[in-house]
Amino acid sequence: MYFADLNLTHFRNYYQQELHFSPQINCFVGANGSGKTNLLDALHFLALTRGFRSTQDKFAVKKGETYFFNGATLVKNEAKLKIDVNYLKGKGKKVIFNQKPLVKMSEHIGRIPLITILPNDTELINGPSAGRRKFLDMLIAQYDHSYLNHLIHYEKILAQRNALLKLMGEQRFFDKEQVEIWDTQLIPHGIAIYKGRESFLRDFMPYFEEFFKKIVSNEEKPFIEYRSQIEENTIDGWLKLMAEHQERDRVQQYTTGGTHRDDLNFHINDHSARNFGSQGQQKTFVISLKLAQYRLLEKHTNIHPILLLDDIFDKLDEHRLQSIANLLDRDIQGQTFITDTSYERLAEVFSKNISREVKFFMVKDGVAQEW
């Protein structure tokens, strides 16, 4: 599956643009602010009905205009499929797949498997634990519907339990019995969530390690540690935890124990990647995580997903750069889009022993040209 072409009208800083892609590797080269990342964003819109920036659709309309039209031809098993995403200010967004307008955006999700790696993905390492839990939960829930149900139930029960603690705090009483009723409901879901995370990580690690080792040269050994307050993932273990936390819960007026406090610790050779990792190491870690995610998606969909790489080569040493280029050449079969500020850098790494077709586009002030 690949995008054969892309047509933009009034999308971000593009007035009108038509591009024809290689089914293999496509590089968008330009200065910061030239519009190279906007091309990835347009592809993201076509694959997932929304951009990868968490802004409203109206901000994707070129200044001074009232609409944007994005169109593309998707080739799947030799068949040509047409996708259009049209947005009109005040009217909203319309996604048309093969001449049929979507009734619900969710119909389209999953049709075009796609993975993005963005510069701020290093937030996964440096940011708060909620981001890591979300990354993990989304990975698991995508393939495990019952895990998603447990997660939803756990969140609902937790919200009620927290509301109860707050209510009792405000009314200055504490009814152990009521709290424990919520515990009995929370625990079965918590047990399932812990189990889901633990077993997923066990399956995920080999994919992750494989990519990491392909990128680094030396004996760097990465490790993902699953951290949880749960010492014994049984009803008894959970009851003990909830009992131990009851007094703290009462004082703080929210639930302090459970899988909602889980975290992932990323290590390189027994050092925390967060505290001790260089920028290059952190980037390598995140790229490996995302490529492992790519591999899982590929396994589950039986399609080579499309890969969007935004500015990932920046601040990487030559060795890592070349390793990633080789990896994109040999280990990734899906259509790949890369943005970078330096033509020389890309031309250099993609000139050595590369078997896939690499197509370059030069981007300047909202105009992209095939090189």
Binding site: K156, A159, Q160, R161, L164, L167, Q178, T184, Q185
Partner: protein, 203 residues
Amino acid sequence: MEYPSKAIENAVNELANLPGIGKKTALRLALHILKQTEENAEKLGESIITLRKNIRYCDTCFNISDEATCNICSNQRRNKEILCVVEDTKDVIALENTHQFNGLYHVLGGLINPLQGIGPSLLNIDPLIKRISESSIKEVIFAFSANIEGDTTAFYITKKLKPLGVKISSIARGIPVGLDLEFTDEVTLARSILNRTQITASE
């Protein structure tokens, strides 16, 4: 919206306070009432006033009632050993329409829901415990919505009833999560009452 008369405006505003009624529908209803005979309009008005002023809750089961004791509680042909605990009057109506249940009811007036500020003390749970301990009730059935709040309420009452040694069961869960009892197909509901399952207190 601008209205040609203050009387219309008042009527529209009052009607629009009803659930599921927007200003447009309210205006349509107001204009419709205006076209009726004076007698018909008075009947409508009076029925609303009577509803509010004369209807009360049954002292025993808290169902809506004309008298101090409702006609289910006072019906001698009903089985006084089985009690069905429900959230709301609308659940009593739904269950009665199945014609499969011949016991008595107890209306809680809601489910335990801390997010909405509802704790057990705001519900008719204490009167329920008192009622069971003082009567010939041998079996209690919970017929709550299949959701977290329904489960919590059932667990809570189950715990409270434990010392009384009554048989406790819950209607079988053929009902999808998130679906209110009033929307359940009456046949499914009847079957689930008949196939009620034993639930155990979590201790």
